[in-house]
């Protein structure tokens, strides 16, 4: 019993340490030795809890995707208007991404890697997320409030700004210093509002 609780605790520590390590160094750059050190666990324990480095990685990605897909399915089951659903889509992606500090970095890397390290399960969740956005856009077009636009364009228009921002805190601070730009503390709410304004401005059916 005691052992079981310890096992769960050490497995959770491995998960957290791995998430941080993958975010900072990418799949290839992440070192199992460092994950073990970070988790205060013997390296062999990582292979006891998870099959290997790849499986550990997929578990971390899966946590974000499963949570996001679940929240989006709830959204889709609501009866909000298409415009409101876009607002909520943006807020959900932003909040789930912010709740997992490591994830935006991991995702930028995984995109650059063409999804090379994702498993079937990860891919299914990603597909679900894109399909939900496509459905919202289709509803909005049918209602005449959105102009036609390929879902992937809208997707990168939402995820791009959100994740680039969430992933680049330290770099922005450094750049702000060097460029002598005031380092205003930008809240996630400001960011969400901006992405909402961008997206609806660009999707709006009636434009000059």
């Amino acid at each position: 019993m005691k052992k079981v609780r310890d096992a769960e605790a050490s497995k959770a520590r491995v998960f957290d340490a791995a998430a941080e390590e993958f975010a900072l160094h990418g799949f290839v750059g992440a070192k199992v030795d460092r994950i073990a050190a970070r988790a205060r666990v013997n390296k062999a324990m990582i292979y006891y809890h998870f099959k290997n480095k790849a499986a550990l990685y997929r578990a971390v990605v899966g946590d974000m995707f499963a949570a996001t897909a679940a929240r989006l399915r709830e959204l889709r089951a609501s009866n909000l208007t298409p415009a409101q659903q876009i607002d909520e889509f943006i807020a959900i992606v932003a909040r789930e991404g912010q709740a997992r500090k490591y994830f935006p970095r991991m995702w930028l890397r995984e995109l650059a890697d063409d999804g090379r390290h994702m498993g079937e399960r990860n891919f299914a969740d990603l597909t679900a997320i894109v399909s939900i956005l496509a459905a919202i856009l289709a509803d909005g077009q049918k209602a005449g409030v959105f102009r036609p636009m390929p879902p992937f364009v809208v997707q990168v228009g939402i995820v791009g700004p959100l994740f680039l921002f969430l992933a680049t805190g330290p770099l922005r601070s450094t750049a702000a210093l060097k460029a002598r730009i005031p380092i205003s503390n930008i809240s996630t709410d400001v960011l969400i509002d901006y992405v909402r304004a961008m997206t609806k401005g660009a999707l709006s059916a009636q434009r000059p």
Copy 2:
């Protein structure tokens, strides 16, 4: 003389091969052996032409940044209106990024790495780019056509969608198949228009 031309040619092949390799695998994942094979050059030649892997990387990043910064300085010297300068800023970043297929992926990775592999020169160019955007925004605010917005927010709102799109061609094709979304061939012009509409929609001073 013949040798010199050969040297220039092989150095150029190393540059191209390295750019491709860094884009596909990141700084850590890039293998010098693969760069040599790709460039059809002996591995030792890489160290003959460039100091080491890091210097080679900085040269590739520098090519994009120097070109972009130069074009933006020209833009800044023009007498276009702030709104027109934003449109041109977006087009320049998109076109320079598209002219270097490898770069958007490299940049997503470098952002996730907090700029860890950049040199002083790279950083100076990056700073110049951000400063130019900040100046355009300040002009627009002064003229009353843009609402106040931190430059970094606008920056991620432009670079995020552009580079996420440019970096993810193959992945989008795969996802489109799995999600049964029509794989429309989206042109860079459509993308540029969308990012322009997004940015100006979100910056517009008079909004509901």
